[in-house]
């Protein structure tokens, strides 16, 4: 069995205020897997992603992402080329004056040549269907377009692992469908944190339920989500498609 690309062992994290956000979290993710991370508000989903990305400092040795330890400064600097993260609010992630500049931000930080940077901008923009948007101002884009630009900006780094935090937030049904199509077309390891359990069902085969910073369950999506007691106990609901008489039945 190959080495997991994400390995987390007894990871705990408390905010400076003392609030314990993660408590002895352990799980592995294999290469190419798409894992859903579900739980109520305040469960620790975003905190976990920030710990994996090295933004929040954890103890050395508790996490390994693509063989890199986010707790080690030298290895943390190499993480952006391996791991990309899409934040909940696209406005937090689009901080340049134009779409081109924003997508080029990551490749420029990698020290690539001008020609390579241009290529790394053109390819993901084409992939997300936004060729021609290079000179657009991010503020004037729709929610779906912003989300796609944010994805392009991360894909420009060519990461092997993608963390998506509430990818369907602020998207209308059309934008949501488009984004699901894009996610499913990405052949990288993915973790998707979301309340949108239907989205998780459409994109992931495995899910991890997290609540109060602890992992409650880890298994096949359909099995976990069909467990009404489990869903109810942790602030979730059985997705409509899994209810008796629902579309998925």
């Amino acid at each position: 069995m190959s080495e997991p690309v994400i390995r987390v062992e007894s990871l705990s994290y408390s905010y400076p205020s003392g609030q314990r956000a993660l408590d002895q979290v352990s799980f592995n993710v294999a290469a190419g897997e798409c894992v859903g991370l579900v739980g109520p508000n305040g469960a620790g989903k975003t905190t976990l992603f920030l710990c994996l990305a090295g933004v929040l400092r954890v103890q050395p040795g508790v996490a390994r992402v693509a063989t890199l330890d986010p707790a080690e400064a030298q290895q943390r600097r190499q993480l952006p080329a391996q791991l990309g993260i899409i934040f909940q609010n696209s406005d937090d992630q689009l901080f340049n004056a134009t779409v081109f500049d924003d997508v080029a931000f990551g490749p420029l930080n990698l020290g690539l040549s001008a020609e390579e940077v241009r290529q790394r901008v053109a390819e993901p923009l084409e992939r997300v269907g936004l060729t021609g948007f290079e000179d657009r101002v991010p503020f004037h884009l729709s929610g779906g377009e912003k989300r796609r630009v944010a994805l392009a900006g991360v894909l420009a780094m060519r990461p092997d692992i993608l963390l998506l935090d509430e990818p369907s937030m602020h998207l209308d049904p059309r934008g949501r469908r488009e984004f699901i199509r894009l996610i499913n077309g990405l052949e990288v390891t993915k973790m998707i944190a979301s309340h949108d359990l239907e989205l998780i069902l459409e994109t992931c085969s495995r899910a991890i339920v997290i609540d109060h910073g602890r992992i409650i369950a880890d298994g096949p999506c359909r099995t976990l989500f069909a467990d009404a007691e489990l869903m109810d106990a942790h602030g979730l609901e059985v997705p409509y498609s899994l209810r008796s008489g629902g579309v998925g039945q």
């Binding site: 920030l50 990305a53 090295g54 933004v55 600097r77 952006p80 080329a81 791991l83 990309g84 993260i85 934040f87 609010n89 406005d91 937090d92 992630q93 689009l94 901080f95 340049n96 004056a97 134009t98 500049d101 080029a104 931000f105 990551g106 420029l108 930080n109 990698l110 001008a114 940077v117 241009r118 101002v137 991010p138 503020f139 004037h140 900006g153 991360v154 780094m157």
Partner: protein, 258 residues
């Protein structure tokens, strides 16, 4: 209050096509030179020259008048008061209880002319290139990357903050709040401003996280394609020449009119 987005469409004039670096390097020092003029004839010449440049750049009239109007609102009170406050020697008139000084009149005139000339130059700079192009040009001219990035982020997020403020105002109004000159209003506005500041701070934190996640290491990099042409060099040379000539003339020749 909402901010309209910065829609750059250019003016269609030849000035649009000039390299932003050369425009910045020419017009900013020229504006500084105008600021140092001491005599109204030189200020007048600067104003006429800047109006000519604005005409050549085909600045949109309404856009231009809005900016000139804003500048005049700031400068006009000073220009109007100076003739009454100037106490140096020179010709004076008395209008009832008021005493009007020639020196004060000329000082006010000089102030207005210099201000409008500088506004004209800056209007040409910002109307003929998108803001982000000007900021990249500044970085190419070795303006500190931190300053450029701060300006870029300010430009990027001021629209977001304006939208947040708009939502806050709507939230207040739908709960019956109306601004009145009373303690409740002052307290409410204070809370609103405080909320904006806190949200801004939280957003800044998240933006910083997003930047680090994409490999940001403190160095500001940009990809800008600038190409110098003969027209750029000619434009800058003419502007520098005129600014220098104006400074020399101001220093040497125009003092007799002061």
């Amino acid at each position: 209050m909402t901010l309209k987005g910065y829609h750059f469409s250019g003016t269609g004039a030849w000035v649009d096509k000039l390299d932003p670096r050369w425009k910045l390097a020419a017009l900013v020092p020229a504006a500084l030179a105008i600021a140092f003029l001491r005599h109204w004839p030189a200020a007048g010449a600067a104003f006429i020259g800047s109006m000519l440049l604005a005409a050549l750049a085909r600045l949109p009239l309404r856009w231009y008048l809005a900016r000139v109007g804003a500048a005049l609102i700031v400068v006009a009170p000073l220009a109007i008061l100076l003739p009454f406050l100037h106490t140096d020697g020179g010709q004076r008139w008395e209008i009832g209880p008021l005493r009007l000084s020639m020196h004060g009149l000329l000082a006010g005139l000089r102030l207005v002319l210099k201000c409008l000339a500088i506004v004209n130059l800056m209007a040409v700079l910002f109307a003929t290139a998108p803001l982000h192009a000007n900021l990249k040009a500044a970085q190419a001219l070795r303006v500190p990357g931190l300053l450029v990035q701060l300006l870029m982020l300010t430009y990027r997020y001021i629209f977001v903050l304006a939208a947040e403020l708009s939502r806050l105002r709507i939230a207040l109004r739908v709960r019956g709040y109306r601004t009145r000159p009373n303690l409740h209003s002052y307290r409410t506005m204070g809370h609103a401003v405080g909320t904006l500041l806190v949200r801004g701070s939280e957003r800044a934190e998240r933006v910083g996280q997003a930047m680090r996640c994409r490999g940001f290491d403190g160095r500001f990099r940009s990809l800008a394609e600038f190409r110098t042409t003969a027209a750029d060099v000619a434009f800058a040379t003419v502007i520098w020449g005129l600014a220098t000539a104006l400074l020399i003339a101001d220093w040497l020749g125009f003092s007799t009119f002061a």
